[in-house]
Symmetry: D2
Subunit: 365 residues, 4 copies
């Protein structure tokens, strides 16, 4: 009887609700609808030498083919360790090794994918039969649900970054995958026709007048020389306060993101440049194309040099510094296109302390 | 020494990778990129009497105000019990009770929200100061990031369904929330002006020529009489094979979903109607506006009657049957608008067995 | 020799240029690029009794069929008399008579066309085989390049207004025309299915999810009762300062103009209402659905009563007054959709004299 | 009395209609709604030496300034001689001469304008204060309603083509024009910043993320080297059957026409190339950037060489031949963007005689 006296009737109700697979919003509203984004993702940084060494080892142990479709070592964010392949809540990055003569067979999936070439040349990608050779610094697209395979006609190992929106598609329960009947998709047209069709700024083949929806992008290889030159020219103007000199890769048919869902960006930081802090809803995976410096993320300093990867979670303050003698180049992928489509992107500028966070910790992998 | 003999070098590599927060794609590709959508969400059905009884109890125990912003009992899908408020991976449904004289104070959030009125009248919603009264069967919008409050000028308890894209926003890490400085947002214009502005099919006030992007929707209350009439008229034509007579609620400014991210649909099933099975990526929360029947989901039969709620997970076969003597009306919300924006929607028709699944089980709550 | 002294060398150059089919911009820039729109179109007003009497006469003299495809008396703006069928520089209006049992045979053309029913019932229109009956006050669409024919199952003469963008298509050199092989296009589905599919405000059949580009509009008959009710409801709100209570007819698929190029608008002026003057690039053909009043156009007063037609040229000040005892209804078509697509629409409010022009003349036909 | 016997009552009615500013559609339908486009425009070709000689003469006689805003000799199509400045029914082309030190003062107009540089360098254009230098072969935009002026810091006369949609805007009654208060608009940022911002294919400065509607285009100078290289690369692929190797100039923000209403195209014809005939609704003004050859238009041969201008009317068969030893380059402007916006574009392939018209006449200017 005294027992009854102690029972809070609201608690009692909550228990009954739980029993019936219902819940009391008055207790949990703050968990569902938070003042600012909440998630369990934390920043992390992976050193290139660690990745590369494991990758080369896998090259000795594994053969690429229908049994192991791709030889890839991927980033597993330790704060998301229960979610296989999550570098951020939406994005995946893998580092792929293809040896001379190997074929990564043809398949397609609803995940979008981009490739950023880290080392080597002589390998190629085909997208629905369009073949393009990959060279260091190139961005190659294999848009969602397009058939794609890779081959290698060169003589040295070839290493590139794969970026896919694994988490995004997982969260939205939209994953589909198919193997192509043959090992490779029949090649159409001449190799690198995609590059020949888009060799000038601000012009487009008239053949492109039809098929205006722009999917998949008719341009599938964004050459490094071209992007580098664009950034050098851009550096004659004022830098962006948060990103230095920076360009987005775009689909020339519609001016939107090159990959419809995965934003791709290349930044150039001048020697000594230190950008102002800001934060935004979209998350980012960074790969250091070249150079050395650091990024401060929510008060912790992540020091990077050529080849490293690091990730910035949603709504985390961040700012970049170049400590090298030369320009630093940071390639990155993000989920900004989706955030903007669905109307969830927000941005805030770090105003305190002249825009620079106080560094409280230095990250150690 | 014998130990070394037993170690598979690939396993050894995998361990080292794990240690360095990396992963071997050759082991896990199938987990990340699945042939079909995988997720842990299962169907479920909640009986109206259970919900209603708990809700009325909460009405006795709890006062609405700044301490308990909303008096709501929400669906907690048992298959997603670690995710507070998830009815599906993307959508939330709550059942809200407002008593005469109460005020659910003004706030805004990046989650979109819709209200579907279940019982009563006399309560109202304001959206950025636009005031509209709620009657049984009405759909009322409070679009993402608009200020909204509810009040009650009537004499009887008022019950409605809240639909929010809690899971969607959570997965995309985009939740923002703000309280309004005052309890209620100042009312602008006359009550139900939104209805007066949109009282004819296919016509729109010329004031609406400007501000074409259509956000937020200028129409915020979709009256039940109007929707019912639309369905009755529609029933003179061929029914949709999968959904019977069905309409989507749309934003008259752009012809797109009434809420930009949450699809809203009303279906009418004639007596005896049994629709053909299909499945799609988008998931659905159903509320039985009126009638009795069943829905077969992946071979399990969910029997429903007036007021019940049930959920259909992504890529699950489903078909509907009306076993009552009269038309059945099913209201539902879904994440189809987002799936289409991001290009992940797919649909498949159930072809076997003349389109009807074999019923293997009957669901018991 | 003296001759040479008199010749202005610039004049001499101009003559030589003319000879070579060239021109001197320094003389003519002001003609090509004018400070404000210039054109030769003037306002005009046609009395209904004049039109009707001629039209009925034509009914006695002429039979509709492949020899005379349509029995129509059209407005010929006297200021544009060299341009056959021009009521404005872009728009045409005809008044069509169809007698019981007659068939206006099937054809299609690149001109868009709308019908507004003035008298009678029992006639129908088919659009690509979709059949709809026409009643007084209805707006019926036969979008550009759709097959259309009219028939008459009633017992009394039927009169309606035809609106086409004859001048627009002529100016853009885009006229195409084809006769259908048969007299009538085979009817598909049930009559007035288009109305049954769109019988509710803000809802749309789910069948309409596909085929999103919205051309041609799935809704082809906008019933008068519906529009009238919309205007009555709208009159509970503030009127538009320039147009009173006014709605645009829209395509429910995309929220844009019902006819993609021809804007259609219905205005209601309360007894005694006198709107403020403004002017805009788009031109307008007005038909007085019901009532009596006047429109002041660039200082001249055009008095109208039920059935009359009048036209407002581009960039002409205009304001409307209702002098009757009841609501006046003005139906109008305009070229605003095209002006907005191409970015040429401009608007200016008449600020002087409290927004009312001084009336300098009263128009006499 | 005998008089009465002779009168055809339909003729009588027609006369009465004419008297009342009405018309009988049964007589004139075929004039308004034609089977194919009808217009009075004919092809024409202007020799470069004629134009250039007159233009240089005007340079001796006329000073540029507020009295003569621009020193331009324009094409006056003899078939449209009553329409000042019409080269086609929609488009204008002028050839402008600016001498060292001169300033063509700042103004803006609702006509869109493009510049294609024919001779010289050292002159510049500013667009809303953005300054860019003009070199041979460059395409420079001054979009509709943007402030623009030209100056000349070089030492030699500068000649360029102006392309405006004079006829389009005239036909649509949408001409507006304003002088800027000062002679020149204040320059913002560094010269040629527009080029530095868009120096790479398929990439765009992140500053461009905002302001997505793309008007006016952020890229206002399309350098010749860049376009030439694009065409050379394109020539590794199959030529377009009707246009050889051809690119459209596009706005990188949205992938649409560089000027929103005036299409701009550059074609390269290999030595000996002879394209297949076709016709389309859009009309074209051609300028021979370089080379010699001919264009057959509706059976008449128009022979051209470097610098010449010629025009192709709507819906006229045409095919091109290069008779020179080197690549020929044809620059052209057209009204295709508008035709596509409004839905009037059509195209037909010339199928007879293997796609080549029989030449019946050779044009003599
Ligand atoms: Fe793949
Ligand atoms: Fe950032
Ligand atoms: Fe809320
Ligand atoms: Fe379904
Ligand atoms: Fe017609
Ligand atoms: Fe007006
Ligand atoms: Fe100009
Ligand atoms: Fe052509």
């Amino acid at each position: 009887m005294s027992q009854h006296l102690n029972v809070d009737p609201l608690e009692e109700l909550s228990k009954q609700l739980e029993n019936d697979h219902l819940g009391p919003l008055w207790e949990t509203l703050g968990e569902m609808v938070t003042k600012e984004p909440t998630h369990s993702m934390k920043p992390y940084l992976w050193k290139w030498q660690t990745i590369r060494q494991h990758l080369l080892k896998s090259g000795e142990l594994l053969t690429v083919g229908r049994k192991a479709e791709r030889r890839v070592v991927y980033l597993q964010n330790p704060s998301l360790k229960d979610k296989v392949g999550f570098a951020t809540e939406t994005l995946y990055a893998g580092i792929q090794l293809l040896l001379p003569g190997e074929v990564a067979p043809s398949h397609r999936h609803s995940q979008g994918a981009i490739r950023f070439v880290i080392e080597g040349d002589g390998a190629f990608t085909t997208v629905n039969g369009e073949k393009t050779y990959m060279e260091e610094g190139d961005l190659v697209l294999t848009p969602a649900w397009t058939w794609h395979d890779h081959g290698h006609e060169g003589t040295e190992p070839m290493i590139w970054m794969d970026g896919l929106d694994v988490g995004m598609v997982k969260n939205l329960c939209g994953s589909f995958f198919e193997l192509f009947d043959e090992e490779t998709y029949p090649v159409k047209g001449i190799p690198d026709g995609t590059i020949s069709r888009f060799a000038g700024v601000g012009v487009r083949p008239i053949a492109d007048r039809k098929g205006k929806d722009g999917y998949p992008s008719p341009l599938i290889n964004y050459k490094w020389d071209n992007v580098k030159k664009a950034l050098e020219e851009l550096s004659q103007l004022e830098p962006d306060p948060f990103d230095g000199y920076a360009v987005d890769y775009i689909n020339p048919t519609n001016g939107q993101s090159a990959d419809a869902r995965i934003g791709c960006t290349m930044q150039m930081l001048s020697p000594g440049m230190h950008t102002q802090g800001h934060r935004h809803v979209h998350s980012v995976i960074y790969h250091v194309k070249k150079g050395s410096g650091y990024t401060v993320i929510n008060g912790e300093k992540y020091e990077w040099s050529t080849g490293d990867f690091f990730v910035i979670p949603p709504w985390h303050w961040h700012e970049h510094g170049n400590t090298g003698e030369e320009e630093a180049f940071l390639f990155s992928i993000n989920d900004r296109p989706v955030m903007e489509m669905v109307g969830l992107e927000m941005e805030e500028v770090y105003e305190k302390n002249n825009g620079f966070q106080e560094v409280e910790r230095i990250f150690q992998p």
